[in-house]
Structures are given as structure tokens and as C-alpha cells.
Amino acid sequence: MSTLEIKDLKVRVETENGPIDILKGVTLTIKAGETHAIMGPNGSGKSTLAYSIAGHPRYEIVGGSVTLDGADVLEMSVDERAKAGMFLAMQYPVEVPGVSVSNFLRTAVTAIRGEAPKLRDWLKEMKGAMTDLAIDTNFAERNVNEGFSGGERKRHEILQMELLQPKIAILDETDSGLDVDALKIVSDGVNRIRKSSEIGVLLITHAIRLLRQIPVDHVHVFVDGRIVAQGGPELAEQIDANGYEQFTVAVN
């Protein structure tokens, strides 16, 4: 049973106009089996939280702590965080020219599991996971994210989540750019993983439609680098009806 504990996390980025504080003290605990949602307007720092936890070099941690089952995540290199059981489904996954999806996935699985899967088992596993996400099997021969549509990129992210079996997964704006059908395929994928494992999930979104597909236990409202309100699924409905003004006014 894993627990991700974020305590008073403060994060800064360097810009052309000097440093800017983006996260101003975020405290949040995600336990195995739970699904949380962070909702907030654009520019509130939601993605910064996701990338800081994953260890992107652009973000400077200036205060607070992040631990996974007591281990200091902030001290780990980016790959060590993944090996410890963290996963980030990215909003804009990058292209890697000349590296096929198949080679990429097999390398990642080898790294996470500590041994290369046997070829026959692996092909079966990969193809099965692809079929579940309605991904054509010739997708395996394409270069990572190169020429992928928005929907293909997101399905490819969830495919990785399925194969790497993380303890805690953060999904950054996974619903953005998806049409109704693609959203359903992706949400079904996430729900399947939730059902079959004790994964803890943090969904980051600014709209409610993802939460209508993936039931959540806790909703956190994020404004100006902080959590300003917390509640159950009803909080998401309230935001859908009234917008974020009620929270932004309170902050300002």
C-alpha cells in the first residue's frame, strides 16, 4: 500500500524576467487505491506540480518535501522516480525520431522491471494492451509520438501506464484535445488499471468532463499555486456550474 506525501511544496522557475514562484506551498497526500482530481484555471500551476514531482530540470524546488512510502522523491533522479513507482502521463509528450514505439516500450519495461521481458511474452503483453486501448498493432513500428494525432499521443501515454504498472500515476490534462470517443477509450483504460491494481491516481484537469468518466474520491481546487478548497465529487459539479470565480475572488 503506497502513499505519496507532498508537504508544503514550493517551486520556482527562472524566466527572462527573473525567477517566478509558481507553487506557493502545496500539501497533498495520495494513497494507493484513491483517485484525486486537481482542478484549476489555466496558469494556476497545476502542470508545474506534476512536472516538479516527476523531476523536470526546469523547476527549482525551493521548499517542502515529496516522499513515496517515506523515501525522498526529490533526492531521486528522474529515472529513479519512475523505478520507485511514479508515473506522469504528459500533456505534450515529445517526439523521439528514429525510436520505434516497440523499442521504446521494451526499453522502459526493461528499466522498470530490472530485466528484459522474454520476447514472446512481451509481444503478447504489448499487443494485448494495445488492443485494449483500440490501438492498431502497426503503431508499434511508428516512431515515438512522431506524427501522432492528439488522441494517439494520449492513448500512447495510457498504454505506457498500463505496461509500467506504477504505484502512483499523475495524469496531466489527459482529456485535453480528445473527442468524445477518444476520451471514452482513454478513460476506460484508466478505469481498467484502477480496477486491476492498487494504483493511486492524481488527475489534473481544468474541465469536468474527464471526471464524469473517471470517478474520483477527492477534488482539490488549485488557484495561484495553492490548494484553496477541498471536497468530494460534488465540488467538481459546483465548479462546472459556477466556474472558478468564487475561488479566485477569495484568493485575490
Binding site: M90, V99, F104, R106, A111, E115, Q160
Partner: protein
């Protein structure tokens, strides 16, 4: 209104085959200014009794092989002219009219002597199709002149591999002539040698020709890899598309890429694009990249070029590491993929695998955990 077209900078590049009219360069000329002249000096001292490299040719049925000299060669420089003129054992290889080969013609060249000159004439007669692989290894200095004649409607793939040992010097010119609606895909792969200097030229003799020029080089400490292209658009409605990618590592690794494209006033309807990308893996390496587009008519479909030289893309490395891949392995994947983009254009799985292995070897010892990840697929 009268428009005066200034004399082209690029047009006089091709010099013909008269050695008396091509002096030995001193290194200050535009086309030699990047070249370490000392390392190529012995090929500027050629006499009339030079030995030939050893050609080992394996070819499918119907392909004709003869002894022949190149006689109609628009040489770019003295060494290439000398290679065409002085070669004592030139070969001509012909794919006859309308013959479509399913297996490649393989020409292995090797030079064990200190210095050798050779010539190859590759002919694709009308509506024929086939692949030539010129695979160069060995230890000496070699100058090779290659003429590729692609007749009307023919479709040629020419792959030139330069993987001599670390003392070897490879230089010369590959001159491609395209007939009406003829196609060529030329691929240069440069991994070995002390220095490699290859000039590739494309001429169109009738409309409708198409040249796709690909290249990949991996330049290690002390190596000099120079690729010079000259595409001469002189007739209407032809196309050229150039993509060269290079990785460099180690002290004094030096690559040079020159992409000269000339669109003459007669070449209306031309479409051309050229691209060179260099990935610098360590300190101490240097990549020179000079795209040069000269346009004498506005009535073209398109013309463009791009050149970029940089270090690893942090976002790619972050993405791979965020999936558990250690930094060293992530960088290997990126370099491998960067060059594989070109290597996978070669229509031979065996050759692809060999070249990818060579690239991986140049990247040094891999983490044994990942040793088998690519092998079995």
C-alpha cells in the same frame, strides 16, 4: 525591363576531365578551406601508374559487368578527375533496359596498398530499377570516381558506405546524371576512416528527374568527415530533397556538410529542400554546416533549406528518463534514433542492422541490462 543574371557562384564548380586545367589546390580555395590538406596530400601527388583498389562485385543475374573507363565525367576537383583518368581497372556495371532487380548489386572496395585510385560506372538503362551498395573498407588512401547514369524512367538506389579503418583516407566524387523522369536515392553513410571527403553531384539532363539524397555520419575524436553536395537544376520540373544527419563526439571530431543547390533560369517548376542536422555529444567536437541555395528563376514550386547543430534535446531525455530509462541509455536511444532515421531508409534489413550495430559500438559499452532489447526484433 531587362534583368541581368549575375554569373553564378556555383556553376563553375564542375571542371571536366583535363588535369592540366585543374591545379593542385593550396587549401585556401572555398571548396578546400575546411579540408585538412596534409592528410589528403598523397592523393594530390598521383602518377600515371597508380594501383587500383580491389573490387569484389556480387550481382544478380542479367546485370552486365565490364572493364571500362569513365570518359564523360564532370569532375569537381583534381583528385576526382585523376581517379577517373588514371584508374587502371575501372568497372562498368549495367542494369539492362526494363530489368527490375530484387537483390542489390554489391561492390566491395578495399585498398590495402598505401594509395589507390579507382573508377566505377553504374548504368541503369531505360525503365530499369535496382540498388547498388558500394561498401568501402580497408586501410590505405583511396580516390574513387563513380558515375551513375540513370536513363529515362529508371529508378536507382545508390548506397555508399565509408567504414575504412582509422588510418584510411577515402575521397572522391559520385556524379549522378538523371534522364527524363528518372529517380535516384543516394545514401552516404560515413563512420570510419581518418578522413572521408565525398563530393556528390546531381545533374538533370531532361525534365521530371527526382533526387533524394540522404546521409548519416558519426564522427569520432580526430576524424574528419566531409560531405559536399552540388545539385544543379538546369531543366524544368525536377525535384531534389536532401537530408543529412550527423553525430559527433570526442576531441577534434570534425564534420563538414556543404549543400549547394543551383536553380538555373531554365529550371522552372523546380522543387528543392535540403536539411542538415548535427548532434554534438561532447566538448571538443566541431560541425561545419553550410547550406547554399542560388536561385535564378522565381517560377519554382518551392526551395528551402535548414541547418541546425545542437546538443541533446532536454525534453527528449526527460521523457525517456521519466519512463525509468537511465540517462546514459536515454542518450544512446536518442543518438541511435537520430541516425536510424537515415539508416532505416536503406532498403536492406541486413545492412540496416550492421550499420546500427556500428553506431552502437561507437557509442561505447552499453548497460548489459539493455543488451538484448533490440536484438531479437
Amino acid at each position: 525591363m531587362t534583368v541581368t543574371v549575375p554569373p553564378s557562384d556555383l556553376a563553375p564548380r564542375l571542371k571536366g576531365l583535363n588535369l592540366n586545367q585543374i591545379p593542385v589546390p593550396n587549401g585556401r580555395e572555398e571548396e578546400w578551406r575546411f579540408t585538412p590538406m596534409k592528410r589528403i596530400a598523397k592523393l594530390h601527388e598521383l602518377s600515371e601508374t597508380e594501383s587500383s583498389p580491389i573490387f569484389t562485385i556480387s550481382s544478380p543475374e542479367l546485370v552486365r559487368i565490364e572493364n571500362a573507363m569513365i570518359t564523360d565525367f564532370a569532375a569537381a576537383d583534381r583528385i576526382s578527375a585523376a581517379a577517373a583518368l588514371l584508374s587502371s581497372d575501372g568497372k562498368s556495371i549495367t542494369i539492362p533496359k526494363e530489368v527490375v532487380l530484387t537483390e542489390p548489386v554489391i561492390v566491395e572496395t578495399t585498398s590495402k596498398t598505401d594509395r589507390s585510385v579507382g573508377s566505377l560506372l553504374l548504368n541503369l538503362e531505360k525503365y530499369s530499377k535496382g540498388t547498388f551498395i558500394i561498401d568501402h573498407t580497408g586501410s590505405g588512401a583511396i580516390a574513387l570516381a563513380v558515375e551513375v547514369n540513370v536513363a529515362e524512367g529508371a529508378d536507382a538506389t545508390v548506397i555508399s558506405i565509408h567504414d575504412g579503418d582509422r588510418k584510411s583516407v577515402f575521397t572522391g566524387q559520385q556524379a549522378i546524371k538523371l534522364g527524363k523522369d528518372a529517380k535516384v536515392h543516394h545514401v552516404a553513410i560515413t563512420l570510419g576512416g581518418d578522413m572521408v571527403r565525398l563530393v556528390t553531384t546531381v545533374e538533370y539532363t531532361a525534365p521530371g528527374g527526382e533526387a533524394v539524397m540522404s546521409g548519416a555520419y558519426f564522427t569520432d575524436a580526430g576524424q574528419h568527415h566531409e560531405h559536399r553536395l552540388f545539385v544543379d537544376h538546369s531543366v524544368p520540373n525536377c525535384r531534389s530533397d536532401v537530408m543529412y544527419k550527423g553525430a559527433l563526439q570526442g576531441q577534434d571530431a570534425h564534420s563538414v556538410w556543404i549543400g549547394d543547390v543551383l536553380i538555373r533560369s531554365s529550371a522552372i517548376g523546380t522543387s528543392t529542400y535540403e536539411l542538415n542536422r548535427n548532434l554534438i555529444l561532447t566538448e571538443g567536437a566541431r560541425a561545419d554546416s553550410v547550406p547554399n541555395l542560388e536561385i535564378e528563376t522565381g517560377e519554382i514550386v518551392g526551395a528551402g533549406h535548414a541547418s541546425a547543430t545542437g546538443r541533446f534535446d532536454d525534453e527528449q531525455i526527460f521523457y525517456l528518463m521519466s519512463r525509468g530509462v537511465p540517462e546514459v541509455q536515454a542518450k544512446r536511444l536518442v543518438v541511435r534514433g537520430f541516425l536510424a532515421d537515415v539508416i532505416f531508409r536503406i532498403p536492406s534489413a541486413d545492412l540496416q542492422n550492421r550499420l546500427i550495430k556500428d553506431v552502437e559500438n561507437k557509442l561505447g559499452n552499453a548497460d548489459p541490462l539493455f543488451a538484448g532489447v533490440f536484438d531479437e526484433q
